[in-house]
């Protein structure tokens, strides 16, 4: 189990004091109790009102503090995810941090031609297979949105492609509870029954309220279905600071906390103890260009506040990494994607997605995924911390080398070097001559080459034939019923 733990062992950046966190929590409770939220799902509304919420004449649900406190007592602090084979893969909780791509990018930079073009179902399969091969991407999302498919089938078809092209656990988006229930049915077929899937979750579902303070019918349907089936659910809003949320970091955080906790209460009322992930996607509206930034510095600040609040609440969190607002994989992308990823890692953000996003979450880049994988690899080494003991202090080795000596043939070097020295795969460590001889490529070109090589060679074991048949049947039946 120890090898699964990826928690930072070094000091963390702290943005909020204990008092700040209490204040944000109390402010969120005040929003829940006094401002209220709109609920577009009758069954969820009834559940809330029966539990002690009240309805205002303006159709707002007011939530008393004790319901939040009760939900906090019930919700698990750790959510385990299992891969396609049923092996424990991710332990979400504490300061463990895991990474994966995002979902539903409308455009893709074509790996072969470099062209900017609409995403297809094939891109979903390729991203899944590439991420399966990359050791530091821990879970899989669709990455691309298959714009070449019937929109009502797109999530289900993506799910089937992802299942075939990776063994890693999945995080899914779905249109509503209808296509989601088919995904869950297929996952039950994979695991061998409803109880087996509950014991060993294979997928997590990404559900979102709409900021400010609205909970759509589809989101709550999916949230309730997750509670019923034991499939872990994320309930994470995307409050847009300056547009659908307050412009200040504290206000932005407060509204996001209130929106996510509202989902937590619905979820835990339906099924106490069901696995849940707290989160805020703290987008920022650039008030000059009117673009929704994933990498504005205020985004990063609210994100870090959200992670700190998750730790304070002791609920696993949903997070972000490997994104850039840049239009291509350039120096801006390198700077932004690595900054947000490092912040996520050091903060112990549990399940961070969107690796490979460019263009405000509209365009995907497989090269960027490769680049961020390397960055995570390097920084998992960095955050593993420094071992200080008699042997690592190397007093004997220093004495042995003495003035003017060397350590290249020292037993100490030999013993430690592979554990101590992290090796890059695409970062350049060659001198000018060798670099030129190797083609004089920049990092983006080397990432592209690695992606092409992995896609040409990496194989994912096929699903059992009967499962593949069953999957086709279930999707076929869904398509027929929908039509």
């Amino acid at each position: 189990m120890t090898q699964l733990r990826n928690a930072s062992q070094v000091g963390r950046l702290g943005f909020l004091s204990e008092q700040n966190k209490r204040d944000i929590y109390l402010a969120a409770l005040e929003v829940l109790a006094n401002v209220g939220m709109r609920v577009y799902h009758e069954e969820a509304k009834t559940l809330l009102l029966e539990a002690g919420c009240t309805l205002t004449p303006q159709d707002r649900v007011l939530m008393p503090r004790h319901l939040v406190e009760q939900a906090r007592l019930c919700v698990p602090s750790v959510v385990n995810l299992y891969d396609r084979d049923g092996t424990l893969a991710l332990e979400l909780g504490g300061y463990n941090s895991y990474f994966g791509p995002g979902s539903d990018l409308m455009s893709t930079y074509d790996l072969e031609t470099g062209a900017h073009r609409p995403s297809t179902l094939k891109d979903v399969a390729r991203a899944a297979r590439l991420c399966d091969a990359l050791p530091h991407l821990d879970f899989i999302m669709s990455s691309a949105h298959p714009t070449d498919q019937d929109p009502h089938l797109s999530y289900l078809l993506s799910f089937a492609e992802m299942m075939q092209n990776t063994r890693k656990p999945l995080v899914m988006t779905a249109e509503n509870e209808r296509d989601l229930s088919v995904m869950i049915q297929i996952a039950r077929e994979l695991r061998g029954g409803a109880e087996a899937l509950r014991q060993k979750p294979y997928l997590v579902v990404y559900n979102e309220p709409i900021s400010p303070l609205e909970h759509p019918e589809e989101s709550l349907s999916k949230l309730l279905l997750c509670a019923d089936t034991g499939v872990p659910s994320i309930y994470s809003p995307a409050p847009l600071a300056g547009a659908t949320a307050p412009i200040t970091v504290a206000g932005h955080t407060t509204q996001g906390v209130a929106e996510s906790l509202f989902g937590l209460v619905v979820h835990q009322l339906r099924k106490p103890g069901a696995p849940f992930l707290f989160g805020i996607g703290p987008a920022v509206l650039d008030l000059v260009t009117a673009q929704s930034s994933y990498n504005a510095v205020e985004y990063l600040m609210t994100y870090m506040c959200a992670v700190e609040m998750a730790k304070w609440l002791d609920i696993p969190n949903w997070g972000y990494a490997g994104t850039s607002d840049s239009q291509l994989l350039d120096a801006q992308a390198g700077m932004e994607a690595t900054q947000i990823t490092f912040l996520a890692m050091q903060a112990g953000s549990n399940l961070s997605h969107d690796v490979g996003y460019l263009d405000f979450g509209l365009t995907g880049s497989l090269e960027e995924i490769v680049l961020v994988d390397e960055f995570i690899s390097m920084n998992r080494r960095l955050l593993a911390g420094i071992e200080v003991n008699r042997d690592t202090l190397a007093l004997e080795a220093i004495a042995e080398a003495g003035p003017g000596g060397q350590y290249m043939t020292s037993e100490h070097t030999y013993r430690y070097m592979r554990a101590v020295q992290w090796r890059p795969t695409i970062l350049n460590r060659h001198g000018r001559e060798r670099w030129l001889a190797d083609g004089g490529l920049d990092l983006a070109a080397r990432a592209r080459q690695k992606a092409l090589d992995l896609l040409a060679t990496h194989q994912v074991p096929a699903l059992p034939a009967d499962l593949a048949v069953k999957t086709d049947e279930l999707i076929g039946a869904f398509a027929a019923a929908g039509a």
Binding site: M408, Y414, M417
Partner: protein, 213 residues
């Protein structure tokens, strides 16, 4: 695993005790010293060389493998004929006068030695006249110089002049290296070879050696 496969693997992994035992075992089984050298020890170092090139091995592992190979060779030496042990060439080397930075020179010396060169390491702060004198006394094929400082680089040119004065320039090929040294500088002072890193130095020395043969 065959005896020779086992021997090669243990050389590669730098396991000296195992290599000594396996060489003795091979002799007991009637293999010739020449065969053990060629198919065991040298074949192992060929693999090591390839793995170093592929960046699969760390340099300290290469150095350890070379040491292990040498230990095995010590057993065979008395049994080998005159023509059986080919030396790639004899190299006199050191850091130039005024320069005490020797880790790069040491690394090149160790790698040259593991590649079959006989290395006479003069250490640090070696004056031009001393380089020339030692090159003559040892019958060296190569003279290797290293400098880390731009202020000490001119000593390379001074050493070449010294070799010319001693009438050695035709016989001794000059190799230079060090962080500030470039191919252009090597051309300017009339050095025969330049390498930008330790791995490249071995290649350059081998290529120049082959020209002579």
């Amino acid at each position: 695993m065959s005896l020779f496969e086992d021997l090669k693997l243990n050389v590669e992994q730098g396991k000296k005790e195992a290599v000594l035992a396996l060489v003795a075992q091979a002799l007991d089984q009637g293999h010739s010293a020449q065969q053990i050298l060629q198919q065991g020890l040298i074949a192992a170092m060929d693999i090591v060389g390839a793995k170093m090139e592929q960046e699969e091995m760390f340099i300290p592992e290469v150095l350890r493998a070379a040491k292990t190979m040498e230990a095995g060779l010590e057993i065979l030496k008395p049994l080998l004929g005159v023509g059986d042990m080919q030396v790639s060439g004899k190299v006199v080397m050191g850091t130039v006068k005024g320069d005490l930075h020797d880790i790069g020179k040491n690394l090149v010396a160790m790698l040259l030695s593991s590649a079959g060169f006989e290395v006479i390491d003069l250490g640090i702060n070696v004056a031009p006249a001393v380089f020339a004198q030692k090159a003559e006394a040892t019958g060296a094929d190569f003279l290797g110089m290293s400098a880390l400082l731009t202020t000490t680089m001119p000593m390379m040119a001074a050493t070449i002049e010294e070799l010319e004065k001693a009438g050695l320039r035709g016989r001794v090929r000059v190799l230079i290296g060090g962080a500030p040294v470039t191919q252009a500088y090597a051309d300017q002072i009339g050095a025969d070879g330049y390498a930008s890193d330790a791995g490249a130095a071995i290649k350059v020395a081998k290529e120049l050696g082959a020209v002579k043969a």
